[in-house]
Amino acid sequence: MGIVVRDIYKRFGGFIAVDGVSFDVREGELVALLGPSGSGKSTILRIIAGLEIPDRGEIYLKRENVTALSPRQRKVGFVFQHYALFKHMTVEKNIAFGLEVQKRKRKDIEEKVRELIRLVKLEGYEGHYPSQLSGGQRQRVALARTLATEPSVLLLDEPFGALDAKVRDNLAKWLKELHVKLNITSVFVTHDQNEAIEISDKIVVINRGKVEQIGTAKDVYEHPNSKFVASFIGNVNVVDAVIKNGLIFIKDTDFEIIDRDIDVSVDRDIVLLVRPEDILVEKDSKQEGFPCMIQDVHYRGSFYEFNLCMGDTYIRSVKDKDDFLGKKWEKNQKAFVVFKQYKIFDASEGHWEIREKLRQLGYIE
């Protein structure tokens, strides 16, 4: 194992930032810690690096228990969201810092720095100060500086968080390539599910200081094991429903859901998860559509986005441009929605066990 995180806890005053987190990172794996801001994911990363001391729990790096070691002794590479470059040093000096601290021979340092500058494609910028570089270039310097000391693991705290969309995309792809090339055990923190899905081998979903789910991008996206994971990844609509007297209703409405596969013998609350692309918006109620009100229609380039409200429940749907142009949709217009497929969380079946009920309606599209 590259990294083993065992049952760590950390509180800041009255706030529990990390609440019993455990996970493993295999040798050479690229793992994403994914979660909303304030979920404790950065704190977990900082605990692995030794920048934060856990109240309880253990960290192993390459089978060695490093919990009591300082960041200096752990020899991990850490890349900060805001680069944390030494602003009074040139690019070259920044990259050389870790090597100079280790008192390597000057000739070796020069050679290594040259090699890293080539690796991060910053030839010609050796004498520049960080303030003279763009965000993407700065982050590449930070990465080179970290790689210079040949750390056994690489930890990246929202490495692309401060960059604009296009640069972020390129840099993320580049990092993935670099990871393949160097094969260094890496963990990166992000709140962007696309980033996590795109470049990680494994995703650890964190919420309120706890691990919600661990799995490959496909696992997490297609088989979320909690309401949180489902709603956090892939912008799913969460619709509360109740089972009462053998019938299923959308919460606080009298819209009835007909689903013969749900056991309706016991009254209880359930949750439907519906992806925006699985919601059909219609002008008339041909089938079992639920009446709703169009709150807003937004132009989104290749598609249109609808904000709808059914009773007290707000949902989001998307419509293709072609499909959209045929009809006239307006704000505050009445319409009907049909859920083409959805998933059900049923609390009665244990801990938010998901039952994948894909219901196909007989629609011809």
Partner: protein, 269 residues
Amino acid sequence: MSVNKGDLTLRSLSLFYIGMLIILPILAITSEAFKGGLQNLWANIVSTQALYSFRLTLIAAFIIVLINIFTGTATAWVLVRYRFPLKDLMDALIDLPFAIPTVVTGIMLVTLYGPMSAAGGFLERRGIEIMFAKPGIILALLFVTFPFIVRSVQPVLLEMEPDMEEAAKTLGATPFTTFRRVVLPTLAPSILTGAALSFSRALGEFGSIAIVAGNIPMKTQVASVYIYGEIESCNNQGALGLSVVLLFFSFAVLTFMNILQARSRRYER
């Protein structure tokens, strides 16, 4: 392009104000000093007493700046980085030397260390003179200049994100290396600003030293007290000579510090 009238007025007024307040007196004293001829002026400057008092002032100023660089930076560091009881009170105390009239400072020091006091008497019996001797000058200057470096370094330390230091740590640097190679270069411009202000203030300090130093010519008489003495004894030319020198030195220090600061900030573009 039309020039905004209000803008123009404001600009001219502030230029006029600065001219009247600062430049005019400087011109006045300089022209007055040169009136008696260059030779006369030079003779006044290099008179043994004037030269001695000037040298004493300069050395004292250098000593207190060196001490302030350490104590001021350390105090700012402690105030920003540590938590301890009565921290707010201590923080407020830092400004006290600015608020207390310098004459009062002098009297405070004499009361504490003077030969008639317990502490002063104790030291004097062991052959250590503080009041009416050179250590008294240093002590008074340290007191009146203490806030400069603390107050210029403190905001920079407060604003400093911890991540540069953390980066140094993860790269394997010891706390000392981190301080020397990462923290200190960041603080350098503000330390220099505080040092320059301390130095200028030390060159000109009068009130507290007049009380504390004893003002013995060729022994404990500093430049400002010498100038005052010359005026008192109606030797205006003698006073002007050293005044011009002090003026020139203040300018030189200010310029030198500005250059040094620009250099230490060159990475900011």
